[in-house]
C-alpha cells in the first residue's frame, strides 16, 4: 500500500489511462444530462424558436416616416450625405424634380443594395434628420442576386412606431433630439417674427 502510494506520487499524481476515463466521464455526463438538464442542451430550434436579439443588434438600414402616410411623413430630404459617406457605396438616391427640373427636397429613388451593405451604421451616424436607422431583420435569402437584394424606397419605408418597438433607447433619444430641434426652430421662427 505504502509502495503504491509512493508510486502514485512519483508518477505525478496520475494513473495511466485516468485522463481518458475522466474525459469519457465528462462526455457521458453531457450525454445523459442532455435529456434532463436544459442547460446541457442549449440549441435554439431556429425557424420555430428564435433568440431575442440585443437592442443594438443591426442588420440593414431602413427609412423612417412619421404618422401613417409613408409619403407625407417621410423624414428623408434627399440631402445625399449618407450616399456620399457610405463606405461600400451601396446607397443610391435620386431627387424628386418639379416641372422645371429643379430638384425637390425629397427622394424619388432611394435604393439600398443589401448585397453590398456591410451594416456599418455610418449612414445612421451621419444623417442629420434621423431618417435612416438600422433594422434587425436578418432572415433574408434569395435565389437571385440583383433585384431581390436591391431594396427600394417602398420596401425601406417603415413607421416610427416600428423603430420604437425595435430599439426603445435609440428611438427615444432620436425623438428627443427631433423634439428639441423642432422647439428650437419654433423659437427661431418666433424670434424672427418678433424681430
Amino acid at each position: 500500500m505504502e509502495r503504491m502510494a509512493s508510486h502514485y506520487r512519483k508518477s505525478g499524481g496520475r494513473w495511466l489511462g485516468s485522463g481518458i476515463l475522466r474525459g469519457m466521464g465528462v462526455t457521458l455526463k453531457n450525454w445523459i444530462g442532455s435529456y434532463f438538464d436544459p442547460s446541457r442542451l442549449v440549441t435554439v430550434c431556429y425557424p420555430g424558436e428564435r433568440l431575442p436579439l440585443p437592442e443594438n443588434s443591426r442588420s440593414f438600414p431602413f427609412l423612417i416616416y412619421d404618422g401613417d402616410d409613408p409619403e407625407a411623413g417621410l423624414r428623408c430630404v434627399a440631402c445625399r450625405i449618407c450616399e456620399k459617406e457610405c463606405p461600400p457605396e451601396c446607397i443610391h438616391i435620386e431627387n424628386e424634380r418639379d416641372e422645371n427640373g429643379k430638384p425637390r427636397k425629397r427622394p424619388a429613388v432611394f435604393d439600398i443594395d443589401i448585397s453590398v451593405c456591410m451594416s456599418c451604421q455610418i449612414c445612421v451616424e451621419v444623417c442629420p434628420f434621423d431618417a435612416i436607422e438600422m433594422d434587425q431583420i436578418y432572415a433574408i435569402s434569395t435565389n437571385a442576386r440583383f433585384e431581390p437584394l436591391r431594396l427600394h424606397k417602398e420596401q425601406l419605408l417603415k413607421p416610427n412606431e416600428y423603430f420604437r418597438e425595435l430599439s426603445p433607447t435609440r428611438s427615444a433619444a432620436a425623438d428627443a433630439r427631433r423634439e428639441a430641434e423642432r422647439a428650437k426652430q419654433a423659437k427661431k421662427k418666433e424670434a424672427g417674427k418678433k424681430g
Binding site: 440549441t43 431556429y46 442588420s59 463606405p87 451593405c117 436578418y138 433574408i140 435569402s141 434569395t142
Partner: protein, 206 residues
C-alpha cells in the same frame, strides 16, 4: 404545363402520384445537404458558429462537413473571394459530384461587398459558378445561414427533373464544369464565365 398540373391533381384524387418519384428524389436531396469544408474569411466564423450547439446546423442533416469535394453536396462560399482564391473555388466546384449547390454567404461572396472596388477581389462568385442561394449580411448571423439552407431545401423540393424548367443538374445542355479563371496581367482571365453571368452591357444583371 397547366394541363399537366390539372391531370396530376385529378390523378392524385384517385391516389395516383405521378410525381412521387420526383418528390422522393427531391426529399432525399434536400434533407441531406453535406457542405464542403472550407472557409474563406470572416463569414466562415459565422458558418462555424452555425454548427455549434446554439444554432446546430445538424438539425437539418447538414453537420457532416466533408473535406473531399467528391462527397459534398453544398458549397458554402463564406467570405471574400480574392482573385488568388477564385481559381481554387471554381476548381473545387468542378470537382464536386452532381447534384451540387452553391450558397453565397455574405456581402463579399455575393458582390465583393466593401471590397468590390478593390484590385484583388472578385466582384461576386456568381460570375464564375452558378449560385443557388444568396444570403446577404456582413457577416450574416448564423440564423441567417440556417434560413438560407431552409430556403435552399425548399428550392430543391420545388425543382423539376424533367420537362421545361428542369433543375440544372438534370439538364444535359447545362454545363457542370466551368472554365477556371487564371491570373492575367490586369484581371482574371476569363473575367467571368459567360454561362453563368452576363455583364450589364450585354443585357444581364442590373
Amino acid at each position: 404545363m397547366t394541363e399537366d398540373k390539372q391531370l396530376q391533381d385529378e390523378l392524385a384524387l384517385y391516389g395516383v402520384h405521378l410525381t412521387l418519384l420526383e418528390q422522393v428524389y427531391n426529399w432525399g436531396r434536400s434533407n441531406s445537404l453535406w457542405p464542403l469544408q472550407f472557409g474563406l474569411a470572416c463569414c466562415a466564423i459565422e458558418m462555424i458558429a452555425s454548427v455549434t450547439a446554439r444554432y446546430d446546423l445538424g438539425r437539418f442533416g447538414s453537420e457532416i462537413f466533408r473535406p473531399s469535394p467528391r462527397q459534398a453536396d453544398l458549397m458554402i462560399v463564406s467570405g471574400t473571394v480574392t482573385k488568388k482564391m477564385a481559381p481554387q473555388v471554381v476548381r473545387l466546384y468542378n470537382q464536386m459530384a452532381e447534384p451540387k449547390y452553391v450558397l453565397a454567404m455574405g456581402a463579399c461572396a455575393i458582390s465583393g461587398g466593401p471590397f468590390k472596388g478593390g484590385y484583388n477581389v472578385v466582384k461576386g462568385i456568381d460570375r464564375y459558378i452558378p449560385v443557388d442561394i444568396f444570403v446577404p449580411g456582413c457577416p450574416p448571423r448564423p440564423e441567417a445561414l440556417l434560413n438560407g439552407i431552409i430556403h435552399l431545401q425548399e428550392t430543391i423540393r420545388r425543382q423539376k427533373l424533367s420537362g421545361p424548367g428542369k433543375a440544372r443538374h438534370a439538364d444535359r445542355d447545362q454545363p457542370s464544369e466551368y472554365a477556371i479563371p487564371e491570373e492575367g496581367g490586369r484581371d482574371l482571365v476569363p473575367q467571368y464565365n459567360a454561362e453563368t453571368w452576363r455583364p450589364s452591357w450585354q443585357g444581364g444583371g442590373k
